[in-house]
């Protein structure tokens, strides 16, 4: 009941006109970048990060939450209408969703996706409200060994589970961790890797890294193919954007199953909502095969409903893990963690004690964002598709100018612009050769925590390495990690031997 009182207080501070405006701005921006091909919520959050420092923390995070959820809604619109998923989590929606659209049921497909995302997000938010405080209390006992285990878990899971190639994922992680070590060492005060350049005494700014890797690198990557790739064919979304009773009845169990599959993945740092969307798609397909008239392959409503619900359920519980444990599971969550740190806040157990106003207003804004997103997506999905009329050269030119603006505005130094360009080229190289970006971002953001807790633990044990595996929590985390790795390895082998789509 305590949670409910606190949530009510959160609503009262989130429902002020100014904060409502930020939710709305976040939702609109998130949907817009989700709809535009090639842009995902991580790029939107990266570009907004420098600008939000003109806002107070609560407003900034409320806006970020809107962008994060909005990106998920917008992505599915394009996945359905054009068969172009903006990020990996929307790929599973293209299979049956685009077939529904080709079948003349585009509007119903969009409605199925929007309602599915709404249900998944809502259930996840309710769960976060009740479980996050308990999770935070639990993690209040964490010492250096536990935090190190947690960070290691996030590193290994994101770089080997999510990535196609574990070597590429780990390489991205090493670069991220390495970037995080530049600057003054907090233990000894030694200058590390700055080679006397005063611009690097404080390390490489997180904003520069974020904008370079997630925004500028993406622009270069799109430039490298835009004049060669054939354009997609957009299907008109005219029709009734509401579902009939029969369709609702057909989709309802899939929404429920998708949500149930998506929920746990937000807390297990297995790298965002890509895996649960595929699992739930697969589950629906298996169930469908046993029915009298299998519908998969012909635009099955369940094949779209389940991944949409799963994707947003994961996004929702991922926010809970971020707030309660300080554990980011995706690139977007890593940027939000970076934003918390820039404001001097450390997500995790202490956040719920020290800044309850912020936490509960943010949690309340999740619910508001879901409702706003359902309203702006259900009847108006067709209008959003009009964004594609912006000529590509001007869209990407504008994004590039905003990259430069954001970095120069926060640092005021040409050095950071050159660093931005260099890291942007690294981001381009990584994209071109299929090296995942999320491990790099998570490495940069969690690197200092990992190093500090590792050295703290070793200092207190006089260099005895067994300190990392004493105590129940690290042992549980390591065995969980082992199970996750084993399951991934197994499913990779199974996929290789039996691939049927």
């Amino acid at each position: 009941m305590d949670s409910l009182n606190l949530l009510a207080e959160g609503f009262s501070s989130a429902l002020t006109p100014m904060n409502l405006l930020w939710v709305l701005v976040g939702c609109l921006l998130g949907t817009a970048v989700g709809v535009l091909p090639g842009l995902g919520s991580s790029m939107a959050v990266a570009l907004l990060l420098p600008i939000t420092f003109a806002l107070d923390p609560t407003a900034a995070f409320i806006m970020f939450a809107g962008v994060y959820f909005g990106g998920m809604f917008g992505d599915s619109t394009m996945a359905i209408l054009m068969n172009t998923p903006g990020q990996a989590s929307a790929i599973a929606s293209t299979f049956e969703g685009h077939k529904m659209a080709k079948d003349g049921r585009a509007a119903q497909a969009l409605a199925t996706a929007a309602i599915g995302a709404f249900i998944g997000g809502m259930v996840a938010s309710v769960l976060v409200v009740f479980l996050a405080p308990a999770l935070a209390d639990f993690s209040a006992n964490f010492g250096p060994a536990e935090f190190f285990a947690l960070a290691l878990f996030a590193f290994v899971a994101t770089s080997s589970v999510v990535a196609d190639s574990a070597v590429k994922g780990l390489a991205a992680l090493v670069i991220g961790l390495g970037i995080a070590t530049v600057g003054i060492d907090p233990f000894s005060g030694a200058q590390r890797f700055s080679f006397g350049a005063p611009e690097m005494f404080d390390g490489i700014s997180l904003i520069t890294v974020t904008v370079a890797i997630l925004a500028l690198g993406e622009v270069f990557h799109i430039a490298s193919r835009i004049r060669r790739d054939p354009g997609g064919q957009r299907i008109s979304s005219a029709g009734r954007p509401f579902l009939s009773r029969a369709e609702l009845k057909e989709a309802a169990p899939a929404w429920a199953r998708g949500t149930a599959i998506g929920l746990p993945f937000g807390v297990i740092p297995a790298g965002g909502s890509e895996i649960p969307t595929f699992i739930s798609y697969d589950v629906e397909r298996r169930i469908d095969r046993r029915r009298k008239h299998p519908k998969f392959g012909k635009g099955a409503i369940r094949g779209l409903a389940a991944p949409e619900a799963a994707g947003n359920a994961t996004t929702g519980t991922a926010m809970g893990a971020l707030l309660a444990l300080g554990l980011p599971v995706s690139a977007t969550a890593a940027i939000m963690l970076a934003a918390f740190q820039q404001y001097g806040l450390q997500p995790g157990p202490l956040l719920f004690d020290r800044s309850p106003d912020l936490v509960w207003a943010l949690l309340a804004s999740f619910f508001i964002a879901m409702i706003v997103l359902l309203i702006i997506n259900l009847p108006f999905a067709g209008l959003w598709a009009k964004l594609l009329l912006i000529p590509a050269p001007y869209l990407y030119a504008g994004i590039t100018v905003f990259c430069g603006l954001g970095v120069y505005a926060t640092s005021g130094a040409v050095f950071d612009l050159l660093m931005l360009l260099g890291l942007g080229l690294v981001g381009f190289l990584m994209r071109r050769h299929g090296m995942p970006l999320a491990p790099l971002m998570i490495g940069v953001v969690l690197g200092p925590l990992a190093e500090t807790s590792m050295r703290d633990a070793l200092l207190s044990s006089n260099g005895n390495y067994s300190v990392f595996v004493t105590g129940p929590i690290p042992l549980v985390l390591y065995s969980l990690l082992f199970i996750v790795l084993a399951v991934t390895l197994r499913s990779k082998i199974v996929n290789r031997t039996r691939r049927d789509v």
Partner: protein, 188 residues
């Protein structure tokens, strides 16, 4: 509008890169074909070497056991190992991206477009404080638009200036950010 994401299904499956154009490979089989991913290996070597030089030249006083070199040292070794693994991967199984357009090009990457964007950004970074936000920003906009295939250079100049001026006004006057006014600043 073209789409930067390759058509859906392949994006998560490794076969995307392997299904090479079996018919035309004979016409362009350089050893480097599909092995440009070795650049990733080079990137790891360069980064690890940067860490190595930093560790060797680091000025550390007396510290207890896990000193400031400990953690970067692990990363450096891991970086070299991963560089070797990446190199082995690309030597054994080259990754040829599938050409999605009807034409065949010498390189998968459209380097002209990338160079317009990168060059534009470099010029922007170097000239921002001298020329001021409005001119440098407009120049960046124009270069990137050009790289992305805009075919109206004169119209773009005016549009770019309009865009950078609008950003300047919105962010200096509206949000109070400090953007350089440059050569336009003194005269007006």
């Amino acid at each position: 509008m073209s789409n930067p994401v390759p058509p859906p299904a392949p994006a998560t499956e490794p076969q995307r890169t392997e299904t090479a154009d079996a018919g035309q490979t004979s016409s362009r089989t350089s050893w480097w074909d599909g092995r440009s991913g070795l650049l990733l290996s080079l990137l790891m070597v360069l980064f690890s070497t940067y860490l190595l030089i930093g560790i060797l030249t680091m000025d550390v006083g007396e510290t207890d056991f896990p000193g400031p070199k400990f953690f970067p040292g692990i990363l450096m070794i891991a970086g070299y190992v991963l560089a070797v693994l990446l190199a082995l991967h690309y030597l054994r199984s080259p990754e040829r991206p599938q050409e999605t357009s009807a034409q065949q090009f010498r390189t998968f990457t459209d380097w002209t477009a990338v160079l317009w964007a990168v060059g534009g950004f470099l010029l922007f970074a170097l000239s921002l404080e001298r020329l001021g936000w409005i001119i440098a920003g407009a120049m960046l906009f124009w270069f990137v638009a050009r790289g992305f295939g805009s075919r109206r250079p004169l119209f773009d100049i005016s549009f770019a200036l309009l865009f950078s001026s609008a950003v300047y006004l919105a962010f200096t006057v509206g949000l109070g950010l400090n953007l350089p006014s440059g050569i336009l600043g003194g005269g007006f």
